[in-house]
């Protein structure tokens, strides 16, 4: 059986290699802290295997996670000088390779879909599934990325096998600590649930809607996602809160909604909130600045008339398809 843990180790090793590169990167003024950040992250990924299998204490990983967050708070990781091609070189390469450039990228969704939709159902001779249950897509993604990389190496023939690693680091350093923010928010969701935050929000929302009304509960989840997202500027942060409060206890447990539909559409309802909020500066204020707009809320004004009907669509989609 192909296990998902293998791919977490792949991620862990990738982070450790990034840490080594960052450590040796004299152009990165924060190279030590950056190496510590990526290194600690890589070790945590590998150590996580033993935590999941209950072979090692969780609190040690807990300390490491808080350490990673502290490093992020202290301004790490930093960025070194990018080791990539110049715009002129890229233009020439684009002329040479043309639409072949899209090929490696398209390998990823195709292979991931094959794994998720088809190989997920394949059983081995001993009756066990070929891919670990519930992780087929993740495994597919890992395999797809490796295949895509092989296709890319054959097509473009870079002069060193370290080239994709440097390019990967360029992108990862660009993302910085935000790369693990979603994972931190998922972790926060677990803490919220363990501490009873969801139950407390649920007690508040109980008073907001008529008992036993499905449409009211669906609307509450979707509109709540949008409003929390508008306040926090981040649908990812709203998701654990609203799901613990309404999505899971009310929509899935009480009304027996299909989890995949409820959660997918709930997240998208949050995205409708992102379209309307200056708190999501990256998406709404940065383009206004880049386009030198007089009115920094111009993009938001263009988006609100789309966000409102789209939120209504999400409520309808969830109501129709999840129940």
């Amino acid at each position: 059986m192909i296990k998902v843990e293998w791919f977490y180790w792949l991620c862990g090793i990738f982070f450790l290699l990034i840490a080594m590169q960052a450590f040796n990167d004299r152009t990165n003024r924060k190279r030590l802290g950056s190496a510590a950040f990526w290194g600690l992250l890589g070790l945590s990924f590998c150590y996580g295997t033993f935590v999941v299998h209950k072979q090692a204490p969780s609190w040690l990983l807990g300390i490491a996670v808080i350490g990673i967050a502290a490093l992020a708070g202290a301004g790490f990781p930093g960025r070194g000088q990018e080791r990539t091609t110049t715009p002129e070189q890229r233009a020439r390469f684009a002329d040479r390779f043309g639409n072949k450039l899209f090929l490696p990228a398209l390998v990823i969704p195709v292979v991931a879909a094959i794994f998720g939709a088809w190989l997920a159902k394949v059983k081995l001779g001993n009756g066990k599934p070929l891919l670990e249950t519930g992780s087929a897509t993740i495994i597919g993604l890992g395999v797809a990325s490796i295949l895509a990389l092989i296709v890319g190496m054959i097509l473009f023939r870079p002069n060193s096998p370290a080239v994709p690693l440097h390019e990967g680091r360029r992108l990862l350093e660009h993302i910085g600590w935000a790369a693990i923010l979603p994972q931190m928010l998922a972790t926060l969701g677990l803490l919220f649930t363990a501490s009873g935050v969801g139950k407390a929000v649920g007690r508040v929302t109980d008073h907001l809607i008529p008992k036993g009304s499905l449409i009211a509960a669906v609307a509450l989840y979707c509109i709540g996602m949008a409003i929390f997202t508008i306040i926090m500027g981040n649908a990812f942060a709203a998701f654990p809160v609203m799901t613990a409060a309404v999505g899971w206890p009310l929509l899935v447990q009480q009304f027996h909604g299909t989890p995949a539909v409820v959660f997918a559409v709930g997240m998208l309802a949050g995205f409708c909130g992102t379209l309307c909020t200056p708190m999501a500066a990256n998406f709404n204020l940065v383009p206004a600045a880049l386009l030198e707009m007089k009115d920094q809320y111009g993009p938001i004004k263009a988006q609100i008339p789309t966000a409102v009907p789209l939120l209504a669509c999400n409520i309808a989609i969830m109501y129709i398809f999840a129940f």
């Binding site: 684009a94 992108l171 539909v261 708190m279 709404n284 383009p287 880049l290 111009g298």
Partner: protein, 237 residues
């Protein structure tokens, strides 16, 4: 009910733009302490939560190949293809750009669009150029309108396209969170396919608004002309 303070920590922390990683960690600790968890239990929850939701971060394995194709001119090639749309009107150009942005994001090619990479250097100049060909010099109001809609074409397109691709933070966050917290075993791809209906709605709603932008611009141009005429008459008098 005091445990709700933990949500307040998130809200206030994000609002004050404190580093999000710190905010999230602090909110978790606050929730645990008020919820009556011992310090060791809180650390255990951080460890278990992090280990259980590692799937959320696996999207990073796609970075080396994406970086590689960028190195060899992905964005240049995309720009070359998009610049072939030059003959279109402002509204149609932006609608088509949104379709492209959404479609490519749905297969994981989020890096070929973006405000800095595409909207500012390419899409906005093309959209504004098409309007100038039609109306002459644009009054500020119209310029602002085109800029706002050009940015929105990118944003709406990528938001409601990327969720159809499995290796994206939001999808992985959903599976990572609910699998760890509620013990479900959701497949990322099952979540991703349920992003398709909303994606279609987004395309229909925002796409048609972009398409109809030409009419809005017609009206704005007519109004601006009328105002200019009015001013001329006053001067004449």
């Amino acid at each position: 009910m005091w445990v709700l303070l933990a949500i307040a920590v998130v809200v206030v922390g994000f609002a004050l733009r404190i580093n999000s990683m710190l905010v999230v960690t602090a909110a978790g600790i606050v929730a645990g302490l008020i919820g009556g968890l011992s310090p060791v239990k809180i650390l255990n929850a951080f460890g278990d939560g992090f280990a259980g939701s590692r799937s959320v971060t696996v999207f990073i394995v796609t970075l080396p190949v994406i970086g590689l194709i960028e190195r060899y001119g992905l964005q240049h090639q995309a720009r070359k293809l998009i610049s072939k749309l030059k003959v279109l009107t402002t509204g149609r150009l932006l609608a088509l750009y949104m379709l492209i942005r959404q479609g490519t994001a749905a297969v994981g090619l989020t890096s070929i669009g973006g405000y800095a990479q595409a909207v500012r250097p390419l899409i906005h100049p093309m959209a504004a150029g098409a309007a100038e060909r039609k109306y002459g010099k644009l009054p500020e109001k119209m310029q602002e309108k085109i800029k706002g809609f050009a940015a929105s074409a990118d944003t709406v397109g990528v938001f409601f396209g990327e969720d159809i691709f499995v290796a994206i933070g939001s999808i992985l966050l959903i599976t990572g969170f609910v699998d760890t917290t509620y013990g479900l075993k959701l497949e990322a791809i099952d979540i991703a396919v349920w992003a398709i209906p909303t994606g279609i709605c987004a395309l229909l709603i925002h796409g048609s608004r972009l398409w109809l932008l030409d009419r809005t611009l017609d009206k704005m141009a007519a109004q601006a002309d009328a105002e200019a005429m009015g001013e001329d008459e006053e001067v004449a008098r």
